[in-house]
Amino acid sequence: MHTIDHAELADVFNKDEARVDWHDETLWWIRQKRDKAVNQLPEWELLRETASKIKENVLSNLAGYLEEFEGNAQKNGIIVHWAADAKEHNQIVLNLLKGKGINKMVKSKSMLTEECHLNEHLEHNGIEVIDSDLGERIVQLAKEPPSHIVLPCIHKKKEEIGDLFHEYLGTPAGNADPQFLTETARQHLREVFLTRRAALTGVNFAVAETGEFVVCTNEGNADMGAHLSEIHIASMGMEKLIPKRENLGVFLRLLTRSATGQPITTYSSHFSKPRSGTEIHVIIVDNGRSQQLGRPDFRNSLKCIRCGSCMNTCPVYRRSGGHSYHNAIAGPIGAILAPNLDMEKYADLPFASTLCGSCSNVCPVKIDIHQQLYKWRQVIVQKGYAATGKKAAMKMMSLTLASPTAYHLGGKAGRFVMKYAPIAVNNKLNPWYKQRDMPEPPKESFGEWYTKNRKA
């Protein structure tokens, strides 16, 4: 079976070179804003180290913290549900809505619900879902998934957004002014917030000690939804737990500086008890996380706080776009999370990297992302999921490197071909030739040069 892989999807994205440059520069600009914010804090490295150690403690006592959180949340009047996988999660949401006779819901950003494909499931069952984060609303209108976990429509030009708003929200054709379009969305979604009885939000952090959870937004959409609805459903990946309330100080300092270079999101909302006459439901979701916890080489990926800084800095992500990762979470972090869920389907993702290590350097919780990418490659090849071409090339390479005769012969042949018949490598069959010319071949190998010059 052939599934479309990252390289093929990146090819589609790379057809429009001007757009690739724009995408690349926009994300790099965000990376620079991150640097500017980070450099103002002399304690940055200490913060990262502390955050990483807190998350290590969480992962090593996760079962206990989950029970502690559940108990304290229940004491606060929050109803707690458990979902082993995406299907169970979606069914819990559907049952909650059906139980109240609700067929329209407003949702703020939750990558977990993207991972679970909640919208499709609800729509299939006659529930209308409206995404309220502006970027998410835009990709929802375009019938696309988000291409970035923090900046869902970073791949879209304002003219395309103007066209979507013209088609669906009745704005004048050709108007692509961000101020005007945002105002239109504000009016459109205010009506939605005021008329929905149910709101779903994600969870950025859940505190075991207090049973509260924190949701961070810049737009205020999570709060508008939650405070105007009679039922607030919060979907939470179980790794979102932190032990103590004071730990929030560490993570809220790291999250937005890493994500966008802001010192904090506009709103960091702490939900502890439901408003009188309303309900808060928290759904704790596993969906492969307990399995990842059992993989010593990869469990650190569960420390992720979803800031997106690894994407903004990644030379491959910036030039291939989020959709080329064909997974809810794109970029380097997506490439180490996805193979846990389906190693065959996502076998290509750990190879979509130069292993430059920039992702690990910016990660606020010090996940060894590039090392995990390298380790996944080995697991994937060993399990036989690597692409056929890659397997053949690696076999050839290992034969060549194992035999000095073959190695020298291969080098000579390569230099000969590149010198006298460059068309043999400068063609479309050679992936290294895409978007670049092959280098001038050297006249001789280092071995040949050394033999000649050793005695001189």
Binding site: T26, I30, P42, K53, I54, E56, N57, L59, S60, N61, L62, A63, W82, E88, S132, L134, G135, L151, C153, I154, K156, K158, I161, P178, Q179, L181, T182, R186, R190, L194, T210, N218, E219, G220, D223, M224, H227, M238, P243, E246, N247, G249, L252, R253, Q262, P263, I264, T266, Y267, S269, H270, F271, S272, K273, R275, D286, S290, Q291, L293, G294
Partner: protein, 195 residues
């Protein structure tokens, strides 16, 4: 058949690594002038700070700025005379036409321009979000340097809902162009009372 809860907890218990200690948070705060840093940070994120000496100054300022606006003032006895809504609304939706809300904050955070608000300071949780413009009264002496000190101050206080609010609602989802006034308040003004 076991429940999802049991299956998940069993899987986690089987797979979680040997326990590592929870680190203490020992992160020193920089020596800074707190009011200056708070003002500077809030200005950078689209907010506005007005330094005042007392509530009389605030009343004077508001007399000029708010003559015709629909006002909601939560929990500030000194400003109740400005309130145009004479009852505490039962449904949050009835606040939808609030042009301006004035609320009190418990304290401010210099490093990020945020103020800490808990629901006992609000008629309804939705108030600081649904209003078109938000004004916050803050004692300069309550400002702390960073988020560690902020949580030290909050301690184990019990609240149904609490939030850090830092500046007006904003988005940059369209080509990274910053627009103020996404879904929440379009502006945020802080009256900083220097006691």
């Amino acid at each position: 058949m076991s429940t999802a809860r049991e299956r998940i907890l069993n899987a986690v218990r089987a797979n979680q690594p040997a326990s590592t200690p929870l680190p203490e948070i020992i992160i020193p705060a920089s020596e800074i002038d707190l009011s200056t840093k708070f003002t500077e940070t809030l200005n950078n994120i689209g907010g506005k700070v007005i330094a005042v000496n007392n509530y009389a100054d605030i009343l004077n300022y508001l007399e000029e700025a708010t003559a015709t606006r629909l006002l909601n003032i939560s929990s500030i006895p000194e400003l109740q005379q400005l309130r145009t809504l004479d009852h505490i609304p039962r449904m949050p939706h009835s606040l939808q036409d609030t042009e301006l809300a004035i609320i009190k904050a418990k304290f401010g955070v210099a490093e990020n321009g945020a103020v800490w608000i808990t629901e006992d300071l609000l008629d309804q949780r939705v108030l600081p979000f649904i209003c078109q413009h938000l004004m916050v009264v803050l004692d300069a002496s309550s400002i702390v340097a960073n988020m560690h000190q902020a949580y030290e101050k909050i301690g184990m206080e019990s609240y149904g809902y609490g939030a850090f609010i830092a500046g007006p609602s904003k988005t940059a989802d369209i080509e990274q162009s910053l627009v103020l006034g996404a879904h929440g308040s379009r502006s945020m003004t802080i009256f900083l009372i220097n006691a």
